[in-house]
């Protein structure tokens, strides 16, 4: 018997060893390197920077959190960011639902496949380029002004518009998957019982696809909460949480405070995930 054969024979009799060998490298990479980095970031949030030397001082304190909660500026930015996230989520759900509905219920199987690719491919087109394209479109003599005769310019509206554009496919795909699983017979039964389109939608389709909508909202929410580049490109003066984090790492060189601010989107996401757990949305991801 060759060495290779005897090694593989030995491994065949030891499934636990095989599993251990398969898991060790990915776990070392993700568990140690990535989780470790996240844990360290969380710890850093309790440290602070020496105002004189700019060095990180490894002393425990809640000062950063106190600043975050008491300073008017950060409260405004937190609520603005949350407001933008909610607006983007609602806009995307309203636009995505009819699109997904046609894809799932009226398109032929072949057309469905093509439509999924058509929705998905731009999802991967550069985030930066897509944000940039809205800067081009919203500019004084851009396409939007040319078509509608006016442009919202750069600011809060442009931020919401651009973020809604960026995350729309993330909303379409889960809703499409949810509608695709919804049996046609239920919709037909509702019509047989006299339900008109709107009634069927409200009492049958919407409740059954709600988890899919929530699944989509996880992406629109999480991605919006962490964004700072779109704001830089089309946002005018209004800042989001991501900008505070970015500025504290770069210009202000205050990594501990950046870490403190970064815990806000993470906590919001964890609370949101815990809240929607019961809708079954997590199984729709």
């Amino acid at each position: 018997m060759s060495i290779a054969a005897s090694v593989s024979g030995f491994l065949y009799r030891k499934p636990r060893l095989r599993l251990g060998m398969l898991l060790s490298a990915p776990l070392l990479w993700l568990g140690l390197a990535y989780l470790g980095a996240l844990a360290a970031l969380f710890v850093t949030a309790f440290w602070h920077t020496d105002t004189f030397t700019g060095q990180v001082v490894t002393e425990w304190s809640l000062d950063n959190f106190a600043t975050l909660f008491t300073d008017e500026v950060y409260r405004t930015i937190t609520f603005r960011t949350l407001g933008i996230a909610v607006a983007v989520t609602v806009i995307d759900a309203v636009i995505a639902f009819p699109m997904a509905f046609y894809m799932a219920k009226f398109a032929s199987p072949r057309a469905q496949r093509i439509l999924v690719i058509a929705v998905m491919t731009p999802l991967w087109a550069s985030y930066l380029v897509k944000a940039y394209s809205w800067r081009v479109m919203l500019s004084g003599n851009g396409l939007v002004g040319w078509i509608f005769g006016a442009t919202p310019g750069y600011g809060l509206t442009a931020t919401i518009l651009t973020l809604s554009y960026l995350w729309l496919p993330y909303m379409i795909l889960p809703i499409y998957a949810g509608l695709d699983r919804l049996p046609n017979s239920l919709v037909e039964a509702s019509s047989d019982l006299g339900g008109r389109s709107w009634r069927t939608f409200r009492s049958v389709v919407l409740p059954l696809t709600f988890p899919a909508i929530v699944a989509g909202s996880i992406f629109t929410f999480s991605l919006t909460l962490g964004d700072y580049i779109t704001v830089k490109i089309v946002g005018g003066a209004g800042q989001m949480l991501g900008n505070v984090v970015y500025d504290n790492i770069g210009a202000a060189n205050n990594l501990p405070f950046a870490a403190t601010v970064a815990t806000v989107p993470v906590v919001i996401m964890l609370v949101y995930l815990a809240a929607v757990r019961r809708t079954g949305a997590l199984d729709n991801l």
Binding site: A5, S8, G9, Y12, P15, R18, L19, L23, A25, P26, L27, W29, L30, A33, L35, L38, A40, L41, T44, I95, P98, M99, Y102, M103, K105, F106, M120, T121, P122, W124, A125, S126, Y127, L128, V129, Y132, S133, V136, M137, N141, G142, G145, Y165, I172, L173, A177, V187, D192, S222, L225, G226, I229, K232, G242, V245, A258, A259, A262, V266, M269
Partner: protein, 268 residues
């Protein structure tokens, strides 16, 4: 479906309009790269390939392209190995903590990019004492690319079951031979699709890259961001943006064609 004709047409109109909104901005960027106007005015005043020629000779752009390629290829290679190992472990075995491990694989992409970015930045700089460079960016990219390869391989493993491998073993092939002649050939297109998607993801990534790439280095997206607000660079920025669209969507399209089970590509 028992919905009225009118509803059907309204929904179709919504779909067509929605797809138009998705594609128009991308087409505008592509058009602008051959627009003879130097500002992004609409409608375009004429057609020119001058900016493409200038971009092709711009040293900063070429260096950024080279950095993007190096980071993308290295991250993809690491993600292929780690993603495949994780996929085999989670798809073929039951063990304690399995759900935790699958959550761990999704986490780098589920958390906002800025959190992943500064977590790694902090770990490299203050904890490990490593200077940021190309290497640190590759490590960061590989971390969030693993999930893409993982999803593709898991989907394929689930679909192909274990019958053929068992047959191979019954016929006397050892584990290594079975992997080489049976398992791997069946996984090949899934790995290729996963690799293409991982490369596209790495090529586009900007937030995590901003925090993990060393000073003095630029990937194409970072080059764009650095030059976005310089009016005299606008035409070259448009060309680079057009290149990014093409380089990141073509692999995704190919990956879709290659692997029928890439339901959503991995970010979802």
């Amino acid at each position: 479906m028992m919905l009225s004709k009118k509803t059907k047409y309204v929904l179709l109109a919504a779909l067509v309009l929605g797809l138009a909104v998705i594609y128009v901005p991308l087409l505008v960027v592509l058009l602008n790269s051959v627009n003879s106007d130097t500002t992004f005015g609409w409608p375009p005043s004429g057609f020119t390939l001058e900016w493409w020629g200038r971009a092709a000779q711009n040293e900063g752009v070429l260096r950024a392209l080279w950095t993007s390629l190096q980071a993308g290829l290295a991250a993809t290679a690491i993600a292929l190995v780690l993603g495949m190992m994780a996929a085999f472990a989670l798809q073929r075995y039951r063990f304690f903590g399995k759900d935790t491990v699958s959550l761990l694989i999704i986490l780098p992409i589920a958390l906002p990019g800025i959190v992943t970015g500064i977590a790694l930045n902090n770990a490299f700089r203050t904890i490990l004492g490593v200077d940021l460079g190309l290497f640190t960016a590759i490590v960061a990219h590989a971390t969030f690319c693993i999930v893409v390869v993982f999803n593709n391989v898991v989907a394929r493993l689930r679909r192909m079951g274990g019958n053929l491998e068992e047959a191979s073993m019954d016929l006397g092939a050892d584990g290594i031979t079975t992997f080489r002649l049976v398992t791997f050939p069946m996984l090949r297109s899934a790995l290729l699709a996963g690799g293409l998607l991982a490369f596209a993801l790495s090529f586009d990534e900007i937030i995590v890259t901003t925090f993990t790439l060393g000073a003095g280095l630029q990937t194409l997206p970072i080059w764009i961001l650095d030059n976005l607000f310089r009016p005299n660079q606008a035409p070259v920025v448009n060309v680079v943006a057009a290149v990014l669209i093409v380089v990141s969507t073509v692999p995704v399209y190919l990956a879709q064609r290659l692997s029928g089970d890439t339901a959503s590509g991995g970010r979802l």
